[in-house]
């Protein structure tokens, strides 16, 4: 490697380190972007709760803001899908599948879909591994009139919503 090349690399590294240091909070780490459906910012995972809903289609991994947005945008995709839907536990998503057009989920899966506006969809359209987890979540956040939906009910709710 030439001397010029080494110097330029060191300068580049110093620039990045300086930038990371001085830019502070404006430097965002992680999967930032817009939801393909609602166009609002993706909400980043936290230590206590995951938010990023990941759709795997072939080699692609597309992130959505909430599980409703996935169901609402599913017609875009023609082939099989695997959805990693954040659950009540960080790092333990509920895995949903659409195979030959038919959706499936683990037996105990329930959904919350109580948001009125997309600003709150990341917290009010979610997937849970059990009814118990759902009850704890809505109680903790005092979400009134929350109804635990089955997969079929969630699909109907998504299809009926007027956007």
């Amino acid at each position: 490697m030439t001397r010029t090349r080494s110097v330029s690399k060191i300068a580049l590294w110093l620039g990045v380190v300086f930038g990371l240091t001085v830019m502070g909070p404006s430097w965002a780490l992680g999967h930032e972007g817009k939801c393909p459906l609602c166009k609002l910012d993706l909400v980043q995972n936290t230590d206590s709760l995951d938010y990023e809903v990941v759709v795997k289609v072939g080699n692609k991994k597309i992130e959505y803001r909430c599980i409703y947005c996935v169901f609402g945008d599913q017609k875009r995709y023609k082939t099989d899908l695997v959805v990693y839907a954040p659950s009540e536990k960080p790092g333990e998503p509920v895995v949903l599948k659409r195979t030959a057009g038919v959706w499936s989920a683990p037996d105990s899966t329930v959904f919350l879909n109580s948001f009125a506006k997309h600003k709150t969809c990341a917290t009010e359209s979610r997937t849970f591994s059990s009814q118990h987890a759902f009850d704890r979540y809505v109680a903790k956040r005092a979400i009134t009139d929350a109804v635990a939906l089955t997969l079929d009910e969630m699909l109907v709710a998504a299809a009926e919503r007027k956007e």
């Binding site: 830019m23 404006s26 965002a28 992680g30 166009k39 080699n59 692609k60 992130e63």
Partner: protein
């Protein structure tokens, strides 16, 4: 015969030419040259060249461009013949039928819009000459005989030919788009005729997107690339009514706009002139004489002669003579809310065009220059193949990657489907990609080679990668890493809207 004719017209124009415009703002009618009142026919034809009409080697692109000419002319003619109330209905449908069944040959717009051509003869000439420049650059880029370097040289010659031979031209300096679109009548056309305005901006999306599709890519990729680009044009881009601003060359063809920045600016200024004219014609409070005056003023704002003493990168911010440009993009004027570092781009948000759109590290200069990724209507520049692939992986829909190889004459074109499966323009392509490489050095460890021999040769020169196995297209396609930790999102609101857009 044309050369003599050009010289005569150029001499006439010189005699009538206006001097530099006022420091900031309006161009008064008294300052406008006499040719603006000239209604005689004086078409200029193409510079004679063997590549003329090579665009027909991409047949659907050629026909779609012919359709654009019809669309422009039909809308203008109806606007000036008292049929403006039908523009969003009958006119739109008539234009749409043509766009779906575009003509085989380029029409003479004056035959479709004779009233408009008679009333605005000078404007038609200004449009027409710039359109000829547009068309001939595309002919050069689609020509199968010329090398990439020869094409670049010919495009430079076409630009000089335009400036030297046409009596009056559109400036190649960047102009402040926010200033030009802040006239009293600005946005009138978009608000009054959103569907037809969507068509105009859809045409301009096509006319600006096609440059990076064609520039320095092998001609045998043009038809397959246009299958994707043309589909998007017909299915989405023509019918968008929610764009914040017209598509810009720097946004949709950043590589070409960076290389041929004067030409890119001229095309953006041409498209802005279309918008300014549209807005005047959509303003019923202006009587015909006042409309004529305002359109003449609009022409004056974009003429080369108006900015004769100005230089790119200089000028008073927010004025007619603001010739600054965003960092890394000399082929684009300043946009609403932008400063020298960042600008707002439709579909992407705030971006710094001198940085990789995926890892936010500064873009390299020279070769390898990195890659571009075209998806969802935008074309973004990234530092390396990994950034291109991973950005495509995170984005729904089909896409095109155009990337540097070790051979500056050969651009790798990858066309991706809805599932992220890629087809390559170079069948024997080999990729280098290390595990755990750091992004500030990604141009070293994420690269494409035109052959295994080229890959091996690179590793001999850079033994630190000697243990890295070559990847074929299939193996490279399924790799992926999280968004790099250098990624910087610029968190500012959309300057074109009071609140960030999105479903509510």
């Amino acid at each position: 015969m044309r050369r003599t004719w050009f010289v005569i017209l150029a001499a006439l124009a010189l005699a009538l030419a206006i001097g530099p415009g006022p420091e900031a703002g309006a161009v008064s009618p008294e300052e406008l040259p006499g040719w603006m009142r000239d209604r005689t026919e004086d078409h200029l034809f193409y510079k004679a060249a063997p590549y003329n009409f090579s665009v027909y080697s991409v047949p659907q692109l050629a026909r779609d461009l012919n359709g654009v000419a019809v669309g422009h002319a039909m809308a203008y003619e109806d606007l000036v013949t008292g049929r403006d109330s039908e523009l969003e209905t009958e006119t739109f449908e008539r234009i749409d039928r043509v766009l779906r069944n575009p003509p085989r040959f380029m029409p003479d717009e004056a035959t479709i819009g004779p009233t408009f051509a008679r009333r605005f003869g000078a404007l038609e000439k200004l449009f027409d000459w710039a359109h000829v420049l547009h068309a001939q650059t595309i002919d050069v880029l689609t020509d199968e005989a010329l090398s990439n370097d020869a094409k670049d040289a010919e495009i430079e010659r076409l630009w000089r030919f335009y400036l030297d031979s046409a009596p009056y031209t559109i400036t190649g300096l960047p102009l402040n788009m926010d200033f030009l679109w802040s006239q009293p009548e600005s946005e009138a056309f978009r608000k009054k005729y959103p569907k037809v305005n969507g068509l105009f901006w859809g045409y301009h999306w096509l006319q600006t997107s096609m440059y990076d599709m064609l520039w320095r890519t092998s001609t045998d990729t043009h038809v397959p690339q246009y299958e994707l680009v043309g589909s998007r044009y017909h299915e989405l881009e023509l019918y968008k009514t929610d764009r914040d601003f017209m598509p810009m060359m720097g946004e949709t063809s950043p590589r070409f706009a960076g290389r041929f920045h004067e030409m890119a600016n001229a095309f953006d200024n041409l498209h802005m002139l279309h918008d300014m004219v549209n807005d005047v014609l959509a303003s019923p409070e202006l009587d015909p004489a006042e409309q004529d005056r305002r359109i003449a003023e609009s022409m004056g704002k974009v003429l080369t002669s108006t900015h004769a003493d100005c230089r790119a990168g200089e000028g008073e911010p927010g004025t007619l003579h603001d010739h600054r440009f965003p960092a890394g993009m000399p082929g684009m004027g300043m946009m609403k809310g932008s400063d020298e570092d960042v600008m707002y781009m439709s579909g992407m948000g705030w971006m710094n065009m001198s940085e990789c759109a995926h890892c936010s590290v500064r873009l390299p200069k020279g070769n390898p220059w990195g890659a571009t990724l075209s998806m969802e209507g935008w074309t973004m520049t990234v530092r390396c193949l990994l950034c291109a692939r991973d950005m495509a992986t995170e984005t729904p829909g089909r896409g095109i990657v155009r990337a540097a190889t070790e051979d500056p004459a050969r651009t790798l074109v990858l066309i991706g489907d809805e599932e992220g499966n890629w087809t390559s323009s170079i069948p024997e392509v080999v990729f280098l990609e290390t595990e755990g490489g750091d992004h500030p050095e990604c141009t070293d460890w994420s690269r494409a080679f035109t052959s295994r021999e080229a890959f091996d040769s690179y590793l001999l020169r850079y033994p630190e990668y000697a243990e890295v196995a070559p990847l074929d297209l299939a193996a490279w396609s399924v790799r992926g890493r999280p968004t790099p930790e250098t990624y910087q999102k610029i968190d500012r609101p959309n300057p074109y809207r009071t609140e960030e857009g999105g479903e509510e």
